[in-house]
Symmetry: C2
Subunit: 331 residues, 2 copies
């Protein structure tokens, strides 16, 4: 078993950037001191977020591969930077582990974390380690955005169009396969990818924020209905969604037959980490159908009041209730 | 029971600074969005640290008052800023709670957290909440230090004098009283204060860093022997401590009689959050015996090699082994 010093040294060796690279990125002092020292560029605002990723709450060590736990822990936190239109820069890792997770599990976890860091453009700047009966991870992510360009949740106004990137429900489909035990069958394995290794749309977020096209933006981490409610609450508006226009995950017929409903997955399924944003009507012609390979769909409009309404395929309007993820909701 | 939205709103109401104050402090966007947005002053380096505070690992909910848990969670993280000579600015709170801790416990916890934030000068900028079977807290603290003035662990050289602030062992004495059940007796209650509500020496840290008096600095969170080892390892040096000069907690005779040994508390007891620092010999005349009421003691010298030696009262030298806190040490 590793001592705490050895554990930190192990993490440092895997993540330490070359000194020249670190200095260029503004990281003056990284892992191994009391705190990290960064030099902000001075022309940018600094964006800061933290996100816990806890065993038996956010993941199950028995079914989620350690590599996916590492990848997703960082991707989840970084998605909050994408939703502000920021460029990811650094992260801190707070890692609490049982003693029996410090060897093979830790290696795979760090491999996944390192892969996400490379892919998303983050440098590990520091963190802390503890021993704990279950795995408890907290990631702090730091990004930069041009001054006064950060996209918030609170700028939507009645008349704005509502857009979403990608297709919704894919991550929840993966989770349902796991919860029903179907993930063990080889034919369904590819459907787990979006649940285990979420894709982020950092370029799209940055593009929307820098050009001030998004009046409000949020990532779909808790599910469309819940995240739209967060955006509407912050902006003090309501929303009308067009069910027909919501881009849904494709569900194979064999799973449809088992009662898996793509509309429910798309409306309430969490962890897609797509971008949900609003655009003033006069700017909507500037929003393409595709941004660097990512489809963008207009799915509704912001309305007065505080209600969320779903216009079904047959033209009927029903109230849309937030049914996505809320840790403290009474079941 | 609170929903997640209500919980966040509860925290926001308690901590929200007036808009004008927030803007002046550089906090452009605080709690309630995907991430916080800060505007660094541009003349300073940014110091960043995170620290987990976990039930049954770092504290026991049955004996540690919720208010002390809140106070100490923030003080621990902020101590890492003190050790760099930084001025605390913002913090993020990642809070995972069982459902039965969201009412009275949460209120007391937030009261303690808010008291520490006021006292230490930090503004809550954001965070996240989860439900979890045990209490799991992670604090990210952000500070500022003048450019290239951050005090690190790695600058000590042979011939430097070793100093420590305050008296060592007081926090460990409080912990020992709790572990032995003596904390319930009224006469010992005052001895718990340093364990529950640690004092930081932010002014002293800043003064040493800004004047470049400390060649290396660390806070005594894991215990003198372990933190000195961290400093020596980072600086690639050894150390000689003079047992006679180490300022020890005063232990009442009734507790001495029970076998509580002040020297052991001072050498290995954790969580004092004093500053341990080194100073070049020619600068040592600039270090006062008292800095704004905080005693400062010269306790040894940095030597060549990698060993730590303790010179006992009788003149004998013995090897000093790090016996403070290490989460992953095999017991």
């Amino acid at each position: 078993m590793l001592s705490e010093n050895e554990l930190i040294e192990h993490i440092r060796r895997r993540f330490a950037p070359r000194a020249a690279v670190a200095r260029k990125s503004g990281l003056l002092l990284g892992i191994g001191d009391d705190a990290a020292v960064l030099r902000p560029s001075g022309r940018a605002d600094c964006v800061l977020t933290c996100d816990a990723f806890l065993e038996n709450v956010h993941f199950l060590a028995a079914v989620h591969p350690a590599e996916a736990v590492g990848y997703k822990a960082l991707a989840r936190a970084t998605s909050d930077l994408a939703a502000m239109g920021a460029t990811p820069r650094y992260f801190l890792l707070s890692l609490a582990l049982p003693a029996n997770r410090t060897e093979a599990w830790l290696d795979s976890f760090l491999r996944g974390l390192a892969r996400a860091a490379r892919r998303l453009g983050l440098t590990l700047a520091g963190g802390d380690t503890s021993r704990h009966p279950t795995i408890a991870i907290s990631i702090t992510a730091v990004g930069e955005v041009s001054r006064d360009r950060a996209a918030t949740r609170s700028g939507a106004r009645p008349g704005d169009l509502i857009y979403v990137s990608g297709r919704l429900g894919a991550a929840q489909l993966g989770l349902e396969l796991i919860l029903s035990g179907l993930h063990r069958r080889r034919r369904w394995k590819p459907l787990l990818r979006r649940h285990l290794y979420p894709d982020l749309h950092l370029d799209l977020g940055r593009w929307l924020a820098e050009r001030q096209l998004a009046s409000a933006m949020i990532d779909t981490s808790d599910g469309l209905s819940t995240d739209l409610e967060h955006l509407c609450r912050a902006s003090r508006v309501g929303a009308r969604l067009w069910a027909n226009c919501i881009p849904r995950v494709r569900v194979p017929p064999a799973l449809l037959a088992r009662g898996i409903d793509p509309e429910q997955l798309a409306l309430h399924g969490g962890e897609d980490y797509e971008l949900l944003f609003t655009v003033r009507g006069r700017l909507s012609k500037l929003i393409p159908k595709l941004h660097r390979g990512t489809p963008i769909s207009a799915i509704g409009e912001i309305i007065r009041g505080r209600k969320m309404v779903l216009v079904k395929a047959d033209g009927r309007s029903v109230e849309l209730v937030a049914r996505g993820w809320d840790h403290f909701r009474t079941k």
